[in-house]
Amino acid sequence: MSAKSLPSTPVRSLYRLVHHRHLRGLGLVTAAALLLNIVVSAMDWWQEYWWLALLTNFILLVIIAERFGELIPLRYKTLYNRSLALSFLVFILLCWEALVDASILNARWFPAPSSILQALWDLTVDYDRFNKSSLLGRPWLIPQEWEANGMTGVKALFKESHVYATLTRVLFGFIIGSIPGIVIGMAMGMNSTIRTMLDTTLSALYVLPKIAIFPIMMLAFPNPFGEGPKIAVVAISAFFLVTINTMTGVQQIDPVLIQAGRNYGANRWKMFRHVIIPGALPMIFSGLRLALGTGLIVIVAIEFVRAKIGVGRVILYHWEILSTEKMYAGLFVTMILGVLLTYGVQLIEYAVMPWQRK
């Protein structure tokens, strides 16, 4: 009772904070972590027991983060979780950097993040005379080229860009494959005869790794080394994923919703527009997301095999000339492309399906 009636002063709140149950625990665990690292370093156990030390450090870190999280008021919890996610990534990168600095990691195969960043910068600003290419196509030269050579100059800039080459291949293939995928998937979802007829064939082709048909595509196109076969393989990969997802999406619509549509007088077109399409939309979009991701995988693989330009080419070429920093930069660019493409689909999803927003 007396504790309650005492006025809250800064000193008192500080006292409370220090004697807080979780904070005491937090102090103990932090001390244990520090002690562990001092002992391991002093006894020179890092060389031999690095994996055990890492594991223990990680576990202690998790406990510290958890204890600390319990101190965070509920309204800052999301912020805390986000910064935890981000700071762990930063922490890993810093460790990597430090390990390379200390020559524990071989900089030749695992170049430090800072040198990868430097390589990424170089790739962006430099023009590769040997391959006649650059990473982004040097967009800052567009005004100058437009002055000098007009449209052809600008086009030439696009043509030299690895990212542009990869993106156009993925997007064209994605669109060319997805549209028939949605149409045929819809037909298969709504008509059981079509489904029965096509299902087995489709499932058989679905399991085939699409990269394996690249040679056939090269034979099928008049220019085997042009864009045609590459885009075709991406399109075929997208087609199967979108078809199967669309079909499932139509099939899993609650039958009572279709009955309600019939009962309330929906004709064929209105049923399609108001019931079937919106009902299948979530599954269609998950198919599209998968197709885009797979498209990126497929195109990088193809660019490894046969391409003069593209981010896959960036990765493989710099491996060939042992410029590992730039190889890593290529990997990083591929990752960013994957994130951006997925994010793009999510934006469209958000706009098209307002009822799915939570």
Binding site: D254, L257, N263, Y264
Partner: protein, 260 residues
């Protein structure tokens, strides 16, 4: 009273791998214009199948079903309220209530005023822009009821509309249904497995036999309207309940006997 629904010798069999299964056996029913008929029976007796036949959603094997249309109007024959609500998750409350009107191509101005009216009547005006996932079960079923009534059908068909709701929400909605019906006096066929609900809402109660379903008995509910939830506490109500349970209990125990 002139009849609104005439069902004669309705038979429904479902083909299965082990031969045909008889779901509804020689069921006949006449419903007068403006009458509220409740169909009660043990689960699996084919009462929902019968309702779907009335709605034209399931074809019948033999017999005939007719809903007599009021010659002067162009109302839809029937509108159904489903136990599973069957409202569209991708449509707002407003668009769900307007669904029947939009499907039939009712002009925009009329669609608008009717939707507005029925949202108000079921107390959902404030939620017009909500999506179903933001609503409670009771609110979802109100949307479904408003959709059916906004459609202004000749006959309202209700398939255990309150079956998925909790006991308290169910009481509230029973009360609302009584009020709505007192104002509208539509012809209703209402399928339920609750005797209480049937006595409270119905003018007439049809008891169905256990599988395959046909009519076993029928009772006229003599309790005067307007009724409210308090009606269920009267001696009259208890009297009705006793008689109906007497008729129904054999059928229910037949179902359990089959399962045991």
């Amino acid at each position: 009273m002139q009849p609104k629904i005439i069902a004669r010798n309705v038979v429904k069999t479902y083909p299965t791998k082990d031969g045909d299964i008889l779901a509804v056996d020689n069921l006949s029913l006449e419903v007068a214009d403006g009458e509220f008929v409740c169909v009660v029976g043990p689960s699996g007796c084919g009462k929902s199948t019968f309702l779907r036949i009335l709605a034209g959603l399931t074809p019948l094997t033999s017999g005939s079903v007719e809903i007599i249309r009021d010659a002067k109007t162009k109302k839809p024959l029937n509108s159904m309220v489903f136990q599973e609500y069957a409202i569209y998750p991708w449509k707002t409350v407003w668009d769900n209530v307007a669904f029947g009107l939009e499907m039939r191509g009712v002009p925009k101005a009329e669609r608008r005023s009717r939707t507005e009216l029925w949202l108000k009547r079921v107390g959902l005006s404030r939620f017009a822009d909500y999506y179903p996932h933001q609503l409670s079960g009771g609110m979802k079923q109100r949307v479904s009821i408003a959709r059916a009534l906004a459609n202004d059908p000749e006959v309202l068909l209700m398939d255990e509309p309150l079956g998925a709701l909790d006991a308290q929400t169910r009481l509230v909605l029973q009360d609302e249904l009584l009020k709505l019906w007192d104002a509208e006096r539509k012809t209703v066929v209402y399928v339920t497995h609750s005797i209480d609900e049937a006595i409270l809402l119905g003018d007439r109660i049809i008891i169905m036999t256990a599988h395959p379903g046909t009519t076993k008995a029928e009772f006229t509910v003599e309790i005067p309207r307007p009724r409210t939830i308090e009606t269920t506490t009267t001696a009259e109500f208890a009297h009705h309940k006793g008689i109906i349970w007497e008729a129904l209990k054999d059928e229910v125990s037949r179902v359990y006997g089959d399962q045991a």
